[in-house]
Subunit: 625 residues, 2 copies
């Protein structure tokens, strides 16, 4: 049987001829990302045949040089008749180490922290004194505890989960009937999330942002409303599809829903382990408050709920307002009976990450002035409004801004070109690389920078077509396609380039977002002039250059001070919801006020989209020279 060795790790397996490389990699315990779930569309499972050969019928969108150089897509290739050595160029695990540093910059603005009087997590701690047992008083520990808790908390009934009851007899006797109770009380009922004979010095909680690509977990000192530490790692679901649509496709049966649920829960639990470990070995069961913000699909997959109906007419999510379930039921390694609060969704493609994110904006303050909020990833989500009205919609930007669908695109990690300037004389590109090392590809901010420079220097025209006159020696033409080399190819190196196809994908992405904003404004008979604040959320917001985005018609021509980066507002919102009931109530109130618009049914959206497929725009009034 052929022996397949994966490099650089050297992990190997024997596999029969015809076995897919995907399967062989899994068997060898090697981590290859399959973001498009094996459709050959994303090119992210690129591997290089270093020795031997593999079989394939069709290598998807792989470019001619890469094929010539021995690259194949692992998802489309099979073990051949003999041994092979296969190099995985950028493995998820390698990238991961550098990743959390990059994300660490996405901190939370201290001014957004709740004030001391607002601090009120979901489970609050109260000391209760329970009378000692008397001989033959006809009362069990549970009865005496319930009586005392009802009286102390002023409720008619008390829910005691089994895990709490199991520890009640000991806890009641450890401190002479003095017992600390973490409870969530409302509607005349108290839910007892936990009990302990001693109160810990610090009350920790977790705020979780489940992104389609990355999962950020913040360890929060609840009593002081401070983030103690944060860990961000790739969502382990990534191997089953890069975007929500691929994940939904993958989750076609209950076993796969369970698998995706396990993957995201495992991602979070790894981060919990890391956070608890490096912050004084906090026992996981002492984490008694957890909040989660995620888009609608991620919310459903985290809860193990079939997401198919999100993308089937009439596009109905399973939950808008999400009931609280226990950490134990959800599989989180925290206090098992602690309730997990999940931010509400407002539609199939506008989820809890957006409603939580609004907390970081003037929307939450109840402003009269018109605000626009965009969160751009594979999907763009937009919220428009003020204290009078709130509209939201989602548009499919495609993965260009995250480095997807771009031949040499990559995420904003080490090796990514993040900024480009093109010399007006030589037309050579100068560039900055994340981490300072060898350039390996182009990330979202690099793409915006590069396309704007190409346009400014006349390498591309308003339609994104490259100059083929030979004026630019960096442009190489092959048949219908042309490309511009940011890093020229050298021996043993393909260089780094952008192709006309890439530019086309970029223009589609920027057009989708811009036209969505215009459509939203038009629907209430307003235009960009009315917009006072333009919030940009996500890593996208942090890294893009506003002036260059305006050159390209991605962002409107508002004054620089109108734009406001709110960073990972989903995580920030989850953090704020964790520490304060006022904020949880506010998110719920905002969510209930939002009207969700389906752009695919808005007749004018397609016209606006086509008009925006131009640099900067066909409507010159929007972008006067």
């Amino acid at each position: 049987m052929p022996e397949i060795v994966f490099l650089p790790s050297g992990k190997a397996c024997s596999a029969a001829s015809g076995t897919s490389l995907q399967e062989a990699a899994e068997r060898a315990g090697v981590n290859i990302a399959f973001p498009c779930a094996g459709k050959g569309a994303c090119g992210k499972c690129l591997v290089k045949i270093e020795r031997g050969a593999v079989d394939f019928d069709d290598n998807g969108k792989l470019s001619w040089e890469l094929l010539n150089e021995g690259f194949v897509l692992a998802c489309r290739s099979r073990v051949g008749s003999g041994d092979a050595e296969i190099l995985i160029p950028f493995s998820l695990s390698e990238e991961q180490g550098k990743f959390s540093d990059a994300l660490a910059r996405t901190g939370i603005d201290e001014r957004l922290y709740p004030s001391a009087e607002d601090i009120s997590p979901l489970a609050v701690c109260e000391k209760i004194t329970v009378a000692a047992a008397e001989p033959l008083d006809g009362l069990g520990d549970f009865d005496r505890f319930s009586q005392a808790a009802k009286k102390r908390l002023g409720v008619e009934s008390v829910d005691v989960p089994l895990e709490v009851l199991q520890r009640l007899p000991d806890a009641l006797r450890q401190n002479g009937g003095q017992i600390y109770v973490w409870h969530t009380t409302g509607n005349n009922r108290a839910y007892i999330a936990d009990i302990a004979a001693e109160r810990p010095e610090t009350e920790y909680g977790l705020a979780v942002d489940i992104g389609t690509t990355t999962v950020a977990v913040a360890l929060v000192d609840c009593a002081r409303a401070k983030i103690a530490d944060t860990v961000t790692r790739y969502n382990e679901q990534l191997e089953r599809g890069a975007d929500v649509i691929s994940r939904i496709s993958y989750a076609k049966n209950p076993e796969r829903v369970k698998e995706l649920q396990s993957r995201v829960v495992s991602t979070i639990n790894l981060s919990i382990g890391e956070l608890c470990g490096r912050n004084g070995h906090i026992p996981h069961e002492c984490i008694r408050n957890v909040t989660v913000a995620a888009n609608t699909t991620m919310t459903q997959l985290f809860m193990g709920v079939n997401p198919q109906y999100i993308r089937l007419e009439p596009y109905t999510p399973a939950v808008m307002g999400v009931p609280c379930y226990s950490a134990g039921a959800l599989g989180l390694s925290a206090c098992p009976s602690a309730l997990v609060w999940i931010a509400p969704n407002v539609g199939s493609y506008v989820g809890g990450d957006i409603t939580a994110g609004l907390l970081c904006t003037d929307f939450a303050a109840g402003t009269d002035e018109l605000c626009l909020f965009i969160d751009v990833g594979t999907n763009g989500e937009i919220v428009l409004g003020n204290d009078d009205f709130l509209l939201s919609c989602a548009c499919s930007a495609g993965p260009a801004f995250e480095g997807g669908g771009i031949e040499m695109g990559m995420r904003a990690s080490a090796g990514a070109i993040e900024r480009v300037e093109i010399d007006p004389e030589t037309h050579k590109a100068a560039y900055a690389v994340i981490g300072g090392g060898k350039p390996l590809g182009i990330c979202g901010s690099g793409l915006i920078s590069l396309v704007a420079e190409l346009y400014r220097r006349g390498v591309i025209d308003q339609r994104g077509e490259m100059d083929r006159t030979g004026k630019f020696p960096q442009v190489a033409v092959n048949g219908k396609n042309a490309r511009y080399y940011v890093v020229p190819p050298e021996e043993g190196n393909t260089g780094v380039y952008i192709s006309e196809n890439d530019i086309d994908n970029f223009i589609r992405a920027k057009a989708a977002i811009f036209s969505a904003c215009v459509t939203m404004l038009n629907s209430v008979e307003l235009d960009f002039d009315s917009v006072t604040k333009f919030y940009i959320a996500g890593g996208f917001g942090r890294y893009i250059n506003i002036e260059k985005s305006q050159v390209l018609g991605l962002l409107p021509l508002l004054s620089e001070e109108s734009f406001c980066h709110v960073g990972n507002s989903s995580l920030t919102g989850a953090f704020m919801a964790l520490t304060s009931k006022k904020h949880r109530d506010k998110i719920e109130a905002l969510a209930s006020r939002i009207t969700y618009i389906d752009l695919s049914t808005e007749p004018k959206y397609m016209d606006e989209y086509v008009a925006a497929m131009f640099i900067p725009h066909t409507d010159q009034k929007l972008f006067p020279a």
Copy 2:
């Protein structure tokens, strides 16, 4: 390393010299019961060295002949320097096969079945019509379902467990929004135990009686209030102690509480598997109603709650009224979110088995006439009263009636002598053996029968001392102890005998029960003449001979028709509670009315006990000749 072979199975293991036989047996996968948890007190782990030798310092209470014949206690013996073959005379697994047949006789009186109009299990099924999703109606599946359920069930709030939510999107679409809902509704809230697009033909439920020794599970056709099938098996906790006190001793840390919980849950799940399998392969998740009745210790261990405080002053159980938890939380293989109803306890040693059992008596009917209810196992539990008052107490009878603490005692299974008559001339015993085979020991009913005959024929006197004049050739004297041979010893066979020690244990047991009844009556200034009905519950009740029990002073001299066997009233009560809210309410009402008396603090109990340590009694007025 010595090789240890266990017979008759031939299972073997290698074990270092000095390894305990208990450990060697576990390693070989051989089931030996250690009811006293290795104290050498009960003699139930008797094994015979067929070849080779083992080491031991002290073999507990093992008799001289048994030691001479090569018997040792597995709990007190260690692997020696060489190989050994060890015979397990009566293994739990052998006994088990015959056991459920024996228990099958303990049926439920059909007259006790709830009438059709009373049928109301905890989770009742209702069909709900949920409106179809509309585009952009702002409602998720959960929201539409909750609205419909609140309206249909007339409640303000709806609890949907995560397992139910996970299946909601599919279930709502399978039958055009028609959905069957199993709900438990009260206090303006509906708990949704399960949902399904189709309603099954039969609704099954489970009634469970967790005894210290055996666990009985009845599969119930809830809609018709009929028991479809029953399985009884030994409680797997038996290997960790025969009685509640040994179990509590064993459960000295959380890991051991978990272990005992797993053992009893595993016992129940095995029975569920058997019942579902042989009744048309019922899917376990379609079992949406479960009720459990158990003594206080068994209740706590089933729930995984530390039972230590049951036997520490002031003897407080963890729970009197037991909140409902889900089958999933308890580990039962049934519908995971189905609620399990557990019968309430009234004291440390009077538990849900007794409160459920009272449903089978006139106590439940609200009688003016004085009733006495006894359930005799290792503990005797007694309830006295009528519609005016209810008293209960427990007394420690010791395991004599279950064949424990008796040198040749055994449970009422194949090989047990269950009835004895002694010839007035030859003084030889004629006997009946369960299963009709070779006599192996004496069970509880055999013991009563035998001791009564020994007393009647003058072999023993009123103090239980054997005649040592030589008049009875069946009596063998060795030092201070004497024994009567029911089956004479032959070559290669020790025979079956009863010793003076055994008779002493028997007298203590009967005295404990009788004096408890007298003390209860005296406490309300009544006597046996006032008792109209005398209920006897448990296997004990089914097999004892009333006339012989009266000869011995175990039962009072009431007319034969005053006595009423109620069989496994705990299982019957659980069954009735399963099918009807009226019965659940009744059990709870009875439990709340019962006053629990602690005999150890009743000054007159010890006097009564000493007075009863005589055959039939020192007070001749109670048993006139």
